[in-house]
Symmetry: C2
């Protein structure tokens, strides 16, 4: 309990900042300033780890490290956006609001209450509206609260875990119609967020598509193999906002090059927001564009078939 010290590997794990970056910041900006153990290896005091996590949060929110690391602690904290009232207000303005109820359950660590509230909402709205008007905005709201530092990591995890369960349960309750196209859903290594993928799966499954959920973190070569083995028509990937932006386009290009040309590649999630178009890759910014893409695929697949692209 007494001033627990973190090795550089532990800091990498807990902050998501690579060892290289940690050493480079120390060299360039003079922070962090870890102690050294008897063998000269870095030992980071807990307060510095805290500060690094705050910096990382602010970076994910768009700030640049050079500025952040030059600031004093107070100025850093002042940067944390003061949005929670506004955010909640925005949420309330959305159709079928009362998002603060959900957030309150999470904040109070009320597992049963949150599950029950979700369940009720699902029953009332139906799956599609539930995903689009409840889960998606909720995820955004929680994401904003997280960026602003208004909720703890474990609260975000609790939200994610409970919401995932609800979604999977709803998906499982759907009849398996398994019409074309067949869609393989997964994410690349290092990307462990699956909520977006589940939302897409829910929407596509509702339309009767044949979804193959492969979980997260699939190596590139295995994604290609999976597509082949499952005779997939589409590979759908999800990138969260936390995924290193600089890697995404290279990854997609790489994957595109190892995928059969007949397989479409879809990429969505908050991580592809600012992404420019790539040849052979379909970037989708929201759930409705996934629906549109599905309709487009079906239209292209059977140009003269019956006029039933979807509802």
């Amino acid at each position: 309990m007494n001033t627990p010290a973190f090795t550089i590997a532990a800091v990498e794990r807990d902050t998501g900042l690579s060892k290289d970056v940690l050493r480079m910041w120390e060299r360039r900006y003079g922070f962090p300033t870890p102690d050294r153990d008897e063998h000269g290896e870095r030992l980071y005091p807990a307060p510095q780890v805290e500060r690094l996590r705050l910096v990382k949060r602010l970076m994910d929110a768009g700030h640049r490290p050079g500025k952040l690391l030059a600031l004093a602690d107070d100025d850093l904290l002042a940067l944390a956006p003061k949005r929670p009232p506004q955010a909640v207000h925005t949420a309330q303005a959305l159709p079928d609001g009362h998002f603060e109820e959900f957030v309150a359950h999470i904040r109070q660590h009320d597992v049963a209450g949150y599950q029950q509230a979700l369940q009720q909402r699902l029953a009332r709205q139906g799956l599609f509206a539930f995903v689009q008007d409840t889960v998606a905005p909720l995820a955004t709201l929680i994401g904003e609260a997280w960026e602003a530092g208004h909720i703890e990591v474990f609260e975000e995890h609790l939200f994610t875990e409970l919401t995932k369960r609800q979604l999977r349960q709803a998906i499982a309750a759907l009849p398996r119609t398994a019409q074309p196209p067949r869609v393989v859903l997964t994410s690349v290594p290092e990307e462990q967020h699956i909520l977006g993928l589940l939302m897409v799966e829910a929407v596509l499954s509702l339309e009767g598509a044949d979804c193959i959920p492969l979980g997260t973190q699939m190596p590139i070569l295995d994604i290609a193999r999976a597509a082949e083995a499952h005779q997939a028509d589409i590979v759908a990937l999800s990138f969260s906002v936390a995924f290193p932006q600089r890697q995404i386009s290279g990854l997609l290009t790489h994957l595109r090059s190892v995928l059969p040309a007949t397989v479409e590649l879809w990429a969505g999630g908050a991580g592809v927001r600012r992404l420019s178009d790539l040849s052979g890759v379909r970037i989708m910014h929201d759930l409705s564009s996934a629906l549109a893409a599905l309709a487009a695929w079906r239209a292209a697949a059977k140009p003269e078939a019956g006029p039933h692209p979807s509802a």
Copy 2:
């Protein structure tokens, strides 16, 4: 499609071998031997990445890199354990066998068939026997097949994803009694496997314990905060066989030092198999020891009290 080349970061992602290790192996053992791009950066040909993945598999199975990297390709492949028939046979010998049915569904990428088979088994056995006699041995079986190279990564992922769904669904169907102890279930950063955690949750929930599932990859400091915020009695962690052995004991000691002394720390999973005891940490090697530990906690907590302390 033409000889896709991997950067060192891509290889790290796809093999799980750190950049440091990749460079060190090249220096020490003369493998891998990546090409260089115009700027001198390593570019790994796909076949070498394949070989590295095989080597990693064999290492997880207990072999040592020095030996493996000195071998020729053929000898390497020969090392892949020839256990699938034996393993399947063992499985068949287990109570209420027919494991080959499940594996066959996975091998044929038959999503609906696998789900249905699981569902039937669950209904027939009840949750506890389902977890202990079906899911656990199945996971072992798949793990062995994976080590032996008899199934693809995406097949393992499919198995994991579908099985997770079934388990979560079963857990959700349980009545929430929420008796003590309150157990926070999670895993440390870098450890994304959750199947073991779900099995424990199922078993503990069946006994009426108040389980808080926080998903995977929780930073150490946040685990401590979560335990405090939720007023947890127990923190349960899971380590898969793939988790770097050398880090586990350090991690547990570190976590123990930041956890309140009144909170028990349980660690389970294939990763702690060869782990020696640590003070203040309870190592569990199977599901029944989790049950035993739960009983022990309850006995110690209320030697004379009634069975309804409630919240």
